[in-house]
Symmetry: C2
């Protein structure tokens, strides 16, 4: 059975997305045919699929090169994204008090109607928004976030919470899924409606188990990959 374009795409994708990043020229089509034992049609098909994903570009007369955005973030530790093929900036977009209701109240262990802080932030890389978080925190603990300078919140988010609130973050349960950008998300991230978005949802807790934050994040699917190490028998 010959190597299909889709199979070859899967294999080349691992090379193209090498976390070492940077723009790199791929081997020419003839070399790819020989190395992978693939037909000319399969090689061209694989490169077309990668180009459709925005992972490679073809320069006339030069060949095909990986875009190399290095959009890789390890989530083994509790840290904010600090690099996405270049420096990352976190910006505060909105801070205000709201009333916790329904799931927000339940997830924060608050009675319905209790005051909460809503905090919207966005992540900017290379001058472009690549992700956005909307977070809810119990106002009783989080009130200092309303008043602190926005510059206190531009670095690592967990460190900022610990410094500004005088608490110790312990762990979070992070859920990942693939969704399509609706018009609101598309507007925030500057992408077309319908493109794939990595949707994150989390509950962050303190050492005593109390929830500190319920958050929903959305990142451009073409700009972020999350990696985690799983061990047999659990961590």
């Amino acid at each position: 059975m010959a190597t299909s374009a889709a199979d070859l795409r899967d294999v080349l994708r691992a090379e193209v997305l090498d976390p070492s990043g940077g723009d790199r020229l791929l081997p020419d089509e003839r070399t790819l045919q020989r190395v992978y034992g693939a037909s000319r049609g399969a090689v061209r098909g694989a490169l077309d699929l990668l180009r459709a994903e925005g992972l490679v570009t073809r320069q006339p007369g030069q060949g095909t090169s990986a875009v190399g955005r290095g959009a890789h973030h390890r989530v083994d530790d509790l840290r904010s994204i600090s690099t996405l093929g270049g420096p990352v900036r976190h910006e505060v977009v909105l801070r205000r008090t709201v009333t916790a209701q329904g799931p927000v109240a339940a997830l924060l262990d608050l009675p319905a109607g209790a005051p909460a802080l809503r905090l919207d932030r966005r992540t900017v890389a290379g001058g472009e928004p690549v992700g956005a978080w909307t977070s809810y925190l119990p106002l009783e603990v989080a009130a200092p976030l309303l008043e602190c300078p926005a510059s206190d919140l531009v670095g690592d988010y967990y460190e900022a919470l610990e410094r500004v609130l005088g608490v110790a973050c312990d762990h979070e349960d992070l859920t990942t899924e693939a969704v399509a950008a609706d018009d609101v998300v598309a507007g925030v991230l500057g992408v077309a409606v319908g493109v794939p978005v990595l949707r994150l949802e989390r509950v962050l807790r303190l050492a005593d188990g109390r929830p500190l934050e319920f958050g929903v994040g959305r990142f451009r699917g073409d700009r972020l990959r999350l990696s985690v190490r799983r061990r047999r028998g659990g961590a």
Copy 2:
């Protein structure tokens, strides 16, 4: 500032996707307006957004109910998906020897041209394909997988590898991203081209650090959510 349809959608989504699953009727629109302090337009807009995602359905005269597919899988441990709102079956689609080249050889610590086993499996829930894996393993270790009955491979994948190959799986590095289904993936998963797909990539290792498998998986974005616990300072 009033609650917008998109904000309310985020909050209701957590309720709709409650892992307890099952079809549940949501509160009526008037109740949602009162509880969340939202306008009638915002409530309708939020329900429209959830319906567009296939997460709720409206029954004329009865109201809106959560579809409740409970598509939640914790990845803290090294286990296959065993339930997705109902029993899950793993099927072997293809087993054959191939030649490891490029990233496949590099990721498996094999010299280019060494023999490898390619194993394609798919995950079926409720009679529908919801995901598919393509895996490459060093033939030297994995040859027994070519001959064993396919029924040996329908349960937990890690247990099957350990039983059939007489090895002990130790850990894997799992990468998650959101991509759009191309025509090949759409065909395998029975979805439309362009819908969001959760793409997984992993390298599975034995206790001595040797790689046992490089795999690429794709799951329907509307059928799988992955959760992991992250701790401050790492695991």
